[in-house]
Symmetry: D2
Subunit: 342 residues, 4 copies
Amino acid sequence: MIVVMQLGATEAQIQAVAEAIRAKGLEPLVMPGDDRTAIGIPASLTPDQRMTLEGVLSRLEGVNKISETSHPYKLASQEYHRDPTLIQVGEEKIGAGHFAVMAGPCSVEGYEEYREAALMVKACGARILRGGAFKPRTSPYSFQGLRVEGLKIIQQVARETGLVTITEVMSADMVEVVAEHVDILQIGARSMQNYPLLIEAGKSQRPVFLKRGPSATIDEWLLAAEYVLNEGNPNVIMCERGIIAFDRTYTRNLLDLTAVQVLKAQTHLPVIVDPSHGTGVAKFVPGMAKAAMVAGADGIMVEVHPDPAEAKSDGSQTLDQAQFAGLMADLRRLSDYAGVKL
Amino acid sequence: MIVVMQLGATEAQIQAVAEAIRAKGLEPLVMPGDDRTAIGIPASLTPDQRMTLEGVLSRLEGVNKISETSHPYKLASQEYHRDPTLIQVGEEKIGAGHFAVMAGPCSVEGYEEYREAALMVKACGARILRGGAFKPRTSPYSFQGLRVEGLKIIQQVARETGLVTITEVMSADMVEVVAEHVDILQIGARSMQNYPLLIEAGKSQRPVFLKRGPSATIDEWLLAAEYVLNEGNPNVIMCERGIIAFDRTYTRNLLDLTAVQVLKAQTHLPVIVDPSHGTGVAKFVPGMAKAAMVAGADGIMVEVHPDPAEAKSDGSQTLDQAQFAGLMADLRRLSDYAGVKL
Amino acid sequence: MIVVMQLGATEAQIQAVAEAIRAKGLEPLVMPGDDRTAIGIPASLTPDQRMTLEGVLSRLEGVNKISETSHPYKLASQEYHRDPTLIQVGEEKIGAGHFAVMAGPCSVEGYEEYREAALMVKACGARILRGGAFKPRTSPYSFQGLRVEGLKIIQQVARETGLVTITEVMSADMVEVVAEHVDILQIGARSMQNYPLLIEAGKSQRPVFLKRGPSATIDEWLLAAEYVLNEGNPNVIMCERGIIAFDRTYTRNLLDLTAVQVLKAQTHLPVIVDPSHGTGVAKFVPGMAKAAMVAGADGIMVEVHPDPAEAKSDGSQTLDQAQFAGLMADLRRLSDYAGVKL
Amino acid sequence: MIVVMQLGATEAQIQAVAEAIRAKGLEPLVMPGDDRTAIGIPASLTPDQRMTLEGVLSRLEGVNKISETSHPYKLASQEYHRDPTLIQVGEEKIGAGHFAVMAGPCSVEGYEEYREAALMVKACGARILRGGAFKPRTSPYSFQGLRVEGLKIIQQVARETGLVTITEVMSADMVEVVAEHVDILQIGARSMQNYPLLIEAGKSQRPVFLKRGPSATIDEWLLAAEYVLNEGNPNVIMCERGIIAFDRTYTRNLLDLTAVQVLKAQTHLPVIVDPSHGTGVAKFVPGMAKAAMVAGADGIMVEVHPDPAEAKSDGSQTLDQAQFAGLMADLRRLSDYAGVKL
């Protein structure tokens, strides 16, 4: 932590800052400058130490600003864990050079419909099946999902098709039942900072797929991953799905593809991109999915449906079979170029 | 819903849109224009009808854009419920001309500390006591609150001081225990779209204090209130606490005071402003609290502490006794002007 | 400037950073920490020195991040100039306890119309008249203003009414002609970083009214003021007029009232709020204008028109005579409370 | 335009809206719905007609909201001009399947330095040379460029190397001199809505390279292009260079790659991506440049320098020769895949 003093701060003010730091058992390092003094605290503070110290120092006379020098996450950081994390689910590998395609309808609407969708996903060559049983919906009047009935359908269809499955879990008390039926636990964007849920997911043995909140910074997102990792679950997959946008005339969210590059520089965890929610528009999905591969993503999650016009939700961002098959063919060609296994 | 066709859309394309609307049992109203045609659907659609229709229509040739004509919330809307909602908790009134001041420390740190803070709140003339027992913290390494022990302290201190109490509840399964100990249930900004929690709070008899999510639109926020109202709980208090900012050099969040005016025009629910989280800086709190009263808010929530420099969290945005007493005096003078009871 | 090294940075990497700093003639201060080293540069750098140094240091191995410790503006800073700036235009005072009301139509539409608007402004008790002769319009097909003809009308009406005048100047080559006809030069939000214009305005003797750009940080805005101040013109007025918003359902821009408090803590320059552009909705203007006064603003700029429904532009955010007279009466009552002269 | 009435709006209120529309010489189309009435205006309005009408209608009782049905731009729209625009500068082609690489230093620092940079650009296989003679700098204390002397250097180096050149022009009165020395006129992000400059650029015969403003919507950006097109200059190149971000911990701006797809669906103009300013970090530039090609961009603009550590500005986002040569090789391989000529 660095405390920057105001111009013309007096020696007494500088000493008061130094004293306040010593009073917390830390050693200040005073750096007099040409026109203002900075005071460094060359120690690794816990978040609580940092916050308490900020409370104290921000109230002292002559203090101009206080800034942080260290990342707040550890287990998620490349600094502690150099090699990329490889996540294995059955035969399926995610990360460390393995490009994962997760596809399926927005929500599980019934056994027949879901089975048809799963067969389409498989026919197109994808091996991970998505589909919501519990649906977080902005309006209470919208379809909320088939719930546990939906989980059973997912499990049944997984057995019949051999596909790996992923579905969203919305609260801590449902982690167990979701983990019994499905391979990968998805934490939705609206739940990224639902800490009881993150902790419970961290206690589960299932890989956790963590979507970025619409206004989460990279650090907040990695700290959410840290909650899961800190419970002993090393298998976290980060998913960029679009952030809050000031222009929503043509798209629903703002896909932040650079976040893939930033995460690849900061963390060892795999990074997936969801261009369906990221753009909200079916015709933009293939282009952004391919751009994601080239930008270094470890996979994509896309909404597909045998008949998008009949989907109960998100039809306007959903690919049909022809579109999805076309995208898979493109990705396969591109994977040689990108140096990943698909 | 209005479907706007592209320039030069053919008669066949226009008819296909009209047909697709009729196929859903709705009657289209075709409006030919100078240069492009619009097609209205003069019916009140459910969110699912709207979404399904969007999925169908967005895929048809010649469609340029689709826009909504009705608000998605009902119970929260002034259109259905003209008179402002007055919420009564014991002797305390919130809304409909009654200005509420909710004050207290960020978190409950122990019985002695909390009692001292409560006495300070009371001495300054406020009647609603805040304080977190369950703390949603960005980092897993931060102090997470005293939990149920904290609830007991809040209840004990409430009995001794006669103050009304409010505390945050972070998950659906904790609603019951929080409601047993505390008067008002706070839903934090990070939980604004935690639907299981909203539903459970809606089933409780306690008033629900609903903070705006950092990237929530006004409509999304009112729809979150709608979840609570829809369960039969009419006592929802909206709280603006700052939204996501592109400039965080001098403040932590971006306080959206105009939201007070917008809500007052759209809903009958009371609106509270939290300038402590809204700015993140103690010296900016009094000015923004007073501005909130003048802008039409029904109250404020502020962080206060007998010794902010010793607070375990949020010290840099917390008022001490002198600052809070000064603010209360200012608000009292201003309340005559603003025409509210304090 | 502080350079923070990565965890596990080697001694050789640390020395390479120190060397690179010395190679630029500066003295590094190495601060070894528990887990990582920071290297301070305790000198006041010019922006170019800083940028060059960043270019060098960001490429060295082992560097984690580089952060700034000093504000980039000087002349605009309270650190160099403690007393609030008082700007005098004829008899009219702006800043240092004098609350200015600038009112008038969006654009000058003709002599008769403008004279009528001016008489209304005067009748309501305001003394500064606004009105655009050059209009920056998003579409090339919109009315662009009467230009020099408009300037002449403003000057003529000013002579007849005794009002002080302000109008926008859109390019450096027009500063001279605008300054000949009008008292205060307005730099619009879209021109905040039009540096040739800022420099030319800085060479003029007229006060400069500098609107904040929709995505400008406080520092960028103060640096834009610095361009004017640096040319020898000390009379700069800052104007908050709403920033970019992610939710534009109910308002046009997002009024950042906290910016008033931040500027009051950072600069000696007067701060005006424009709630007309800040909200874009006439019914929200009075509430936010009053909140601005209470938040510490030195004045407001509002759009008024004898018949807003007939205004050529911005009618939906314009106050009519009754609304404006009501606002002025409210502000007068409130000015006692706020301790400002109106 | 569609006017949506409030719930329970009376017949008299509906008729008043219809009358107000007729009073402007337009024919209203009333659409009674289940629960609320909408009133369409099936005519193509000019921006002024629309704004005046909004001013009138927004003041009438019973009106809930007013929404637009048509795009405000015409010349830039694909609806009027289906085929992609191909821009030819000497031998160089931009757009319509031709991928352009524009590279060079941030600013022209001297003849020797610029010549060396140009030779490096040419050696790596790029054919368009960038470099600023006039530099828009946030701080008045930063290097502002060599100005006309810089233009002469650009021209001289272009003659010696045969490269096509592009440089920024910051004000209308400099368009002529810049156009005399350089092939393509760049309008910077901060000047996107400098209308006098856009108009003057529109009168020039030079292609205009239009950077997106940091908070410009797609429609505002296309309307800025419309200013140029409307003066008779058909050769406009759109450049996405990153928009305003709420998280600037790891990047300088937020690159909006989906904007490429949106523009490709809306306009016939070529679209270029600038990953140097878009990310602000050299190591992220190659990945995002390649993603841009795959996302459908018609080219990239990148900052390169023989010795980035010695560049006077933007060194931390600048590629050196090895990095740029690597990127060019990657793009060449990828161009087969993407189906573009490089």
